[in-house]
Symmetry: C2
Subunit: 200 residues, 2 copies
DNA sequence: CTTCAACTGGTAGTTACTACCATTTGACTT
DNA sequence: AAGTCAAATGGTAGTAACTACCAGTTGAAG
C-alpha cells in the first residue's frame, strides 16, 4: 500500500499474492467502516475477498493485523539510523520522521488516517498498536545507544525513548480528533516541546 | 489486595465475595507462575478456585483482568487532584506518585512487582496494560487542564500527558529488569528528567 | 419462616485461531 | 510440451475465550 517495492517485474505467483493481500485488506477495511470492527467476522472478510478463512490467516496472522500491519516503522527506524551522529537523539528522530512522512502521497496519508482512527478507537486495536509502538521505540532506543555511545540499558536513554513514544502517541490521538492539522507538524511540535522541557 | 477498604464490618455475602475474588486471583497467579499465562486456561483457574467458569467471568470480565485489575490508578488520580494548584503539572504528578507509593507495604510492592513483570512480558497483557495506562493518563490530562486552567484539548497539555505516560512505562520496564532499584525513585527520576528537557 | 434479590452452576452457541491433510497451481527442467 | 516439485489453497476438526440464558441455591430482611 505504501511501499511498491518492485516495479512491474514480479512473477505471476507474486503478483497474485500481492493482489490477494490487498483484496483482503481492502474488503476488511470496507466492512469495518460499514459495520464496525468487532461486528465483522473473519469469515465475512474472507468471503468478500473470495478466499477461505485458512488463507486469510496465512496472509494476516490475526484479525488485528489487517489494520495494524504497518510498513512505516521499519522505514523510520532506517531513517533514524541514517542520521549523522552529531545530532541530538530527538533531533535525529525529528529529521527521520520528516524524511519518511514527507514522501507519503495524499492517498497514503488518507489510508494511514483511516487506519489510525480505527486503531485508536477500538480498544483491542488500540492496545495492540500501543504495544507495536512500544516495540518500535525499543528498537530506536538501541539505535540511539549506538548513536550517542551510551549503554543500551542506560536509564536516561530509556526514559527519553519512553517520552518520545508517549508524545508521538498523543500526537496521533490529537490528529484523529483534528484531522485538518498536519500529522508531521504535530509530531514535530510535540518532539520540540519534549526537547526543551515542560516547565510551565 | 491493596486497598482493604472496609475493616471487619461487612455482611457474610460481601465477605464471601471478597474471598472468592482473591481465591480466583491467587490461584490464577499461581498457575501463571507455574505454567505461564497462555498455557493456563480459565477452566483450570476456575477449578482450582472451586468455582464454575461462569462465576470466574462474573468476577473478572476477561482473563487479562485477573492480572491487570489495578487498584492504584484511581488512588493516583485522586492524589493528583488533591495537589495545590500552584505546582507545575509534573511536580503535581511527582508528589502524587510519592504519596501513593510510599504508603504501600512490602507485600503490596512484591505483589505489584510480580504482576508488572507478568504484564510486561506477555504480549497480550502488555498491550492491555498499555491501553489501561493510556486511559489513566487521559483522565490525568483532564485534571491537569483544570489545574492549569488550560483547555483540555490543548495540544501542549496532551503532549505533556503523553510524555508522562511514556516515561512512566519505560520506568516500569526498567524496574522489572532491575528489581533491586526502587520503583518510586525510578519514576521520580524519570519525571524529573522530563521536566528539565532532554538536550544532550 | 417466608419472601425476594443476589449469586451460582450448567448448557449451548459464537468467534478467533491452530494443526493438519488433500488438492491445485505456478515455476522450472529437460 | 510434458513432467516434477514446491508453494499456495481449501476444508475439516479441534481448542479456548468469551456471551446469553435459565434454573436452582443461598444470604438478607421483614
Amino acid at each position: 500500500m505504501a511501499a511498491e517495492s518492485q516495479r512491474a517485474k514480479a512473477s505471476l505467483r507474486e503478483r497474485k499474492k500481492a493482489k490477494t493481500r490487498t483484496a483482503i485488506q481492502h474488503e476488511a477495511l470496507r466492512l469495518f467502516r460499514l459495520h464496525g470492527y468487532e461486528a465483522t467476522t473473519v469469515e465475512e472478510i474472507a468471503d468478500k475477498a473470495e478466499v477461505s478463512p485458512s488463507t486469510f490467516f496465512r496472509y494476516f496472522p490475526s484479525k488485528e493485523d489487517v489494520v495494524l500491519s504497518d510498513d512505516y516503522d521499519p522505514l523510520i527506524t532506517e531513517a533514524v539510523r541514517a542520521q549523522p551522529s552529531e545530532l541530538s537523539p530527538i533531533r535525529a528522530i525529528r529529521n527521520a520522521l520528516f524524511e519518511v512522512f514527507s514522501q507519503l502521497s495524499q492517498d497514503d496519508l488518507e489510508d494511514m488516517f483511516e487506519r489510525t482512527q480505527l486503531a485508536l478507537s477500538v480498544p483491542e486495536l488500540r492496545a495492540a498498536i500501543l504495544d507495536q509502538f512500544a516495540r518500535t521505540i525499543r528498537q530506536i532506543t538501541d539505535l540511539l545507544a549506538e548513536h550517542t555511545g551510551s549503554a543500551n540499558d542506560d536509564f536516561a536513554l530509556h526514559t527519553l525513548a519512553g517520552a518520545v513514544m508517549g508524545v508521538m502517541i498523543s500526537a496521533q490521538f490529537h490528529w484523529v480528533e483534528h484531522p485538518e492539522q498536519n500529522l508531521i507538524s504535530l509530531l514535530d511540535n510535540a518532539l520540540e516541546q519534549l526537547e526543551f522541557g515542560f516547565q510551565y
